[in-house]
Amino acid sequence: MNSPYRIASQRVGPRLEQKSGTAVRRLQCLVWWSFSGGLAAAPLDFQRQILPILEQHCFECHSAAVAKPKAGLRFDDAAALTRIKDEPGWDTVLASVKLPSGDADVMPPTDKGDPLSSSQIALLEQWIKAGAAHGSFTTYHHAAKSTVSGLGRKRLSTDAHVAAAEIDRLVEADLAKKGLTRSPPISDATFLRRVYLELAGRNPTASEATTFLRSQADDKRSRLIEELSRSDAYVSRHFNYWAKVLRAESDQAGNLNDAWLHYLKTTLADNVPYDEWTRDMLTAEGRLWEDAAIGFYLRDQKNRLAGYEAMTSVFLGTNMGCAQCHDHPSRPLSQLDYFKMLGYYQASHPFQTSNNLFKNVRRDEFAASLKARQKEAKQQGLTLKDRARRIADLGQATTYDFRLMITAETDTKRSKVPSTYRYDDLKTGQHLPPEPLFGETPALKEGDKPMRVFASWVTSPENLRFTHVIANRMWMKVMGAPVHGPVIDIMPLEKSTHPELAAHLAELMLACDYDLRRFQSLLMSTRSYQSEAVSAEQSAATQAFQGPVFQRLEAEQVWDSLITLIRSDIDPPARTEAPDFAFYRAASEAPSVDAYWKLIEERLDYEEEHGVGRIGGFGARAKTKVVTAKRGFDTMGLVRASALPSPAPAGHFLQLFGQGLRQNIEDQWSTVTIPQALTMLNGSLHEEMAKADSMISQALDQAPSSAAMIDVSYLSTLARYPSEEERDIAAQVIADGSRASQRRLLWMLINTTEYQLTP
C-alpha cells in the first residue's frame, strides 16, 4: 500500500469485509474524516479541542460548578483530570459515552443531556489514546464561560504585524528543523512587481513603479498591499483566479450565464466573505434575474455528477470522483457515501420538464401557437428575409434562453440508490436519506430545503475541512506551494508537510471571518513572502518555505502586463452594470400567448434597429470559435483578460500561454512552448506598443533624456531601474533616441527570462 492515507486508514482499524452500509463503518468514516479534515489531527490542543466537549457534556454534574460533583469526579481541573487516569480510568469514561442512548449507564445520562456526537467521541478517543495530556491547562474558570464558543475561540489577532510574525515563527521553526535558512529579503523593486502581479494581476506602469520606489514611507509596503487590495485591478485578477477554480464559462448555458460572471465580479468587488458567497451559490434558486448565482448550478446542468464532484473538490477539498462507481480503494469513502451526500445536491436541480416555462401561459398553448407560425412559414416558403419567419424563430429561441432556472425542492425524493450502485445491500430506486460525508447529519425538518441545510453544514465553522481548504488554497496562491496537500484533495493533517502551520492558518482564516482580502494581505506581510523566490525543484526537494516559488507568469499576467504597455485605461471598473434581463423577465411573465408574441415583435424591432443579435440585450458578442487574424494579438480587443470571454477562444494569445479551457478545476498550464517564444519575438504586440498613442510611447515621449527613456523602459517591463552595466548596453541601443531604437530596447526586455518569470 503506497497510499498517502495508509496511516489514517490503519488508525481506524482494518477495512471491513462488508462493502458498505453498516453503522460501524459509518462511525469509522466519521473518525477518519474528522482526523483528515480537522485541527483534531494535529497534536491535540486540550483547551481548544477537548475542554469544550467536556464543558458541554460533563460539567453540569462533574465540575466545581456543582457543590458535590457526582461520583467525586471533576473534569474542570488539571489535578482532577490526572486522578481520572487512575480511577475510574479514561477507557471507562470513553466506554460510557459510547453506550447507546437510553442505556442505563450511558454518559451523560439520557435525561441529563444530549449524547456526544460521533465526531466528539472520535476526538475524545484520539485524545485519550494519545495519553490524555492536558498541557498547560490548570483550572477552568466558570465565570468566564460566556466567552468560550467552540473553535476559533482563541480568536487570533488579525493585526498584520502580529499575524505575520506568528506565521514567520512557525515557518522558521520548520526551516530550523530541516537545517535550512530563509532566502534573503527582497528589494523594494522585487516586492513591487511581485505584489502587483499577485494582487493586480499585472506589472505596474512606469509611473506606478516610480511612485512606490521613490516613496520614503516606512510602511510603504503594507500601504501598497492595502491599496492594491482595494483596487479595480484586484477584482480583475481575482476574477481570473476564481473563474479557473469554478470553471466559469461565458458561453455555458447560453451567453446568459454572463450574469454569473458578473455576480462573481461584484462579489469580489464587495469583498463578500468566502463562506457567505459559498452559501449563496449552494442555495441559489430561481431564474438568472432573480438570482445570478444559479450560474453555479447551470455550469454543470448537462453533467450534474461532474458538478457535484467539482463542488466537493473545491469547497471540501475532497476528490470523490472514483466513488461515483465504486468504494474508494484506500479511504473510507464508499459509493454509498457518495450518493447519500448527492441527495442534497440533487434537491436543487436545473429546469428539466419545462412545466413552468412561463409563469402565466400554458406551455401547450404556447407550443401550439409556435407550431402554427412555423407551419405557415414553411408553407409559404418563408426565409429569414421574411419578418414572419424571424418572429417565429425569435419566439422559439427566446424560450431557450429564459427557461434556465434552478428549482430548490423541499423534499429529497430525488435521492435514490442509482442503477449504477455496485453492491447488494440496497435496491436500485430505494430512497436514500441524504447524509453529509462526515460529521453530524443535520436535521431535515418538514419544509426545509435540503440544499440550505447542506450549505449550512458545508460552511459551518464546525466543519474544519471547509476552513482548512480555503486557508490552504490562499497559501498556495501566494506562496506557490501548498501547506496541506493538493488544494482540491487535501491530506490528513498529520500527513501534511506542515501540520502546525496548516492548523494555524485555518485558525487565522476563522479570525479573519473568511475575508480573503484580509487573509491574503496578512500572508503577504510575512517575511516568508517577502524573501527571494526559490525554484520549483528546490521547493519540492526541501518541502520548506524558504521563499515563494517562482514560475512562469500566468497567461493573464503576461497578457495584462503587455496591455499595460498599450492602454492607459488599463483596469476595467470593478463594478459594471448587471446584465439587463428586462426583456426575458417580461417574456417569461407574459400574461397571455398573444402578449408574448407582441413582446417578441417589439424585441425584433429593437434588435434590428440597434443591430444586435439574439442575446444582444446585454453585451452582444459574436461567438468566435477560433481567432483567425494572422497574428492574433488584438483580435478580441486590447482589454484585460477579465473583460474578454471566459475562456478566450482557441488560438488567442491567452490560450497560447495556458489560460486553460475552464473544463477542469484550475486547468490552466504553465509549460513553456515554442509558439509562446515566437509570439513574444515576432507577434504583433510589438506593433501595438510602437503606435504613437500607446501608453509606453507616450511615456517615452515625455522622457526628457535618453537616461530617462531607459528608466521608463525598465520600469514598465521589469519594474526596476537598470544596473550600471545594463544601462550602458541600453544606452548604446537607444543612442539615437528614435522610435525604432526604443522599440528595440523594449523588444529585448520583453524577451528576457526575467520578464517572463515571476520575481
Binding site: 519575438l681 526586455l749 527570462t753
Partner: protein
C-alpha cells in the same frame, strides 16, 4: 525573413545554442531494437468514444445497442456502425483492440491515465505523456523539426511531466492557422534580429545567473533556441496546410480534426516522430446516438483519408496510426438517451507501421462493460507503441535522484510490466 542559406542557418543555430543556452541533454543512447515504424500519428477521441456504437457492436441485444445498425467491412466477419462507411472499406488495414481496460472513470484522470499509463493520484508525481517519452527516447529524424507536435489545446494535458519542458509537444491550436508568428517583424532585418537577441540575453545575464539550475528557466531558454532555429528552417512549410490541393483538403473533411490529420501527415512526411490530434465531443451523456453519429462523420472522413493518403505516399508502412480515447461508454442507455463513462472495457485501433490489419484482439463481456478475454492495460498498449518504434519500454527514469523509477511499461517495482501486443505486427 531570415535567409535560409546554410551558413546563415548554421550561424543562427550556433547562436541559439551558445547564447540562449541550449540545455538539451545529449540523447540517451538506448539500444534500438528492430523497429516497424518511424512515426506515430496518435488520434485521441476526447470525451470517451462509445465502443458499443462504433466498433464493438451488440447487434443481438437491442436494449444495449439502441438504434445502431452494423455494416459489413472489407474484412469478412467484422462489422462496424453504418456511420463509418468509408472506414469500413479500410478495415483490412486496421487492427482493433477491443479489450482496453482501466479504472479511471472521470475525464481528467481517465485522459491522464491513457496518455501516461499512470494514475493521476494526488499529482505528487507529474508523469510525462507518451509523446514526451518518445521525444526523449527516439533520436530525432529531422534536426530542424520539433519531433513532437500536438494539434489541440494543452489544457489538462500531462505534457512533459517530470521531464524537461523541452520534451513537451509543440502545440498547434488550429491546423488551419498552423504555426503563427514565425516571420520577422516588419522592418526588422535578420542581422538586427540576431544582434538584438544577443543583447537581450546580455541584459538577462544577471537574472539567469541568479536562477541557474531552475529547469523552468532552462526550458525557457531552450525553447527560445528551438523557436529561433525553426524560424530559419525550411521545415516551416510543413506547418502550412494551404500548400495542399483543395481536393486533398476536402478529402479529409473540412473539420478541425480532418485538417489536423492532414497537418499530421505533412509533419510526419518531414520527419516528426509523434503527432497527436484530438477529436473532442465524444462525451455523449445526452442523445448518445445522435452525438456518436455526428462524431463518426468527422472520424470517418478524416481517418480513411489519412490511411489512403499515407498509403499512396508510401508512408503507411512506417507510420503507426493510433486511435484511442480516455474510456468507452456504458451499455445502459439512460433517461436522457445518453451513455455514462465506462473505463472497464473499450476499443482502440492500430493501423500501419507494421500492423497486420484486419485483426481483432480481445473481447468485452456480452453486456459490453468489462473485459471477457485478453485484457489490455494502458501500459500494454503504450508498450506496444514503443515496441513499434524499436524503443526499450523498460528504460526507467525518476523525477528525483532517490525517487520511484518509471517507464512507459510501468514502475520498476510493478510486479507485472506492460507487454507489447507483438502478434498484431506482421
Amino acid at each position: 525573413m531570415i535567409p535560409s542559406d546554410i551558413s546563415r542557418r548554421h550561424f543562427v543555430q550556433t547562436l541559439a545554442g551558445s547564447l540562449l543556452g541550449l540545455h538539451l541533454a545529449p540523447r540517451l543512447a538506448f539500444a534500438q531494437t528492430k523497429s516497424s515504424a518511424d512515426h506515430i500519428i496518435y488520434l485521441f477521441m476526447s470525451g470517451g468514444m462509445s465502443h458499443l456504437d462504433t466498433f464493438d457492436l451488440r447487434p443481438d441485444d437491442a436494449a444495449i445497442q439502441g438504434p445502431v445498425s452494423g455494416i459489413p467491412t472489407k474484412v469478412p466477419g467484422i462489422h462496424v456502425t453504418d456511420k463509418l462507411p468509408r472506414l469500413a472499406q479500410q478495415m483490412h488495414r486496421i487492427s482493433q483492440v477491443r479489450s482496453m481496460t482501466h479504472t479511471q472513470g472521470n475525464h481528467e484522470p481517465g485522459k491522464y491515465h491513457v496518455r501516461t499509463g499512470y494514475d493521476m493520484g494526488s499529482r505528487v508525481v507529474a508523469h510525462p505523456a507518451l509523446g514526451s517519452w518518445i521525444h526523449k527516447h527516439a533520436p530525432k529524424l529531422n534536426p530542424d523539426l520539433p519531433a513532437y507536435v500536438r494539434i489541440g489545446d494543452m489544457g489538462g494535458h500531462p505534457s512533459s511531466g517530470f521531464f524537461s519542458a523541452a520534451h513537451g509537444p509543440l502545440p498547434i491550436s488550429s491546423a488551419e492557422l498552423g504555426l503563427q508568428n514565425s516571420a520577422l517583424l516588419t522592418g526588422q532585418s535578420s542581422d538586427q534580429f540576431i544582434q538584438d537577441l544577443q543583447l537581450s540575453a546580455k541584459l538577462d545575464q544577471a537574472h539567469r545567473a541568479r536562477r541557474a539550475g531552475s529547469s523552468q528557466l532552462a526550458a525557457l531558454t531552450d525553447l527560445y533556441a528551438e523557436a529561433v532555429k525553426l524560424m530559419s528552417s525550411e521545415e516551416l512549410d510543413g506547418f502550412d496546410i494551404a500548400k495542399e490541393s483543395s481536393k486533398t483538403r476536402a478529402d479529409y473533411g473540412k473539420t478541425p480534426f480532418g485538417q489536423g490529420c492532414l497537418l499530421a501527415r505533412r509533419l510526419v512526411e518531414r520527419g516528426a516522430r509523434f503527432v497527436e490530434v484530438d477529436l473532442g465531443g465524444w462525451d455523449t451523456h445526452t442523445d448518445n446516438h445522435e452525438g456518436v453519429a455526428r462524431q463518426c462523420n468527422t472520424l470517418d472522413a478524416a481517418l480513411s483519408a489519412l490511411l489512403l493518403d499515407l498509403e499512396s505516399r508510401g508512408l503507411l508502412q512506417r507510420t503507426l496510426v493510433v486511435v484511442t480515447t480516455e474510456f468507452g461508454r456504458d451499455p445502459e442507455i439512460d433517461e436522457f438517451g445518453g451513455r455514462n463513462h465506462n473505463p472497464f472495457g473499450f476499443t482502440s485501433l492500430l493501423a500501419g507501421g507494421g500492423i497486420s490489419g484486419g485483426a481483432v484482439h480481445g473481447k468485452t463481456e456480452p453486456k459490453g462493460k468489462g473485459v471477457a478475454s485478453d485484457p489490455v492495460t494502458v501500459a500494454d498498449f503504450n508498450t506496444t507503441l514503443a515496441h513499434a518504434l524499436g524503443l526499450n519500454p523498460q528504460s526507467y527514469e525518476s523525477p528525483t535522484p532517490s525517487g520511484q523509477r518509471f517507464s512507459i511499461s510501468g514502475k520498476d517495482t510493478a510486479p507485472v510490466k506492460g507487454q507489447p501486443l507483438t502478434h498484431l505486427f506482421t
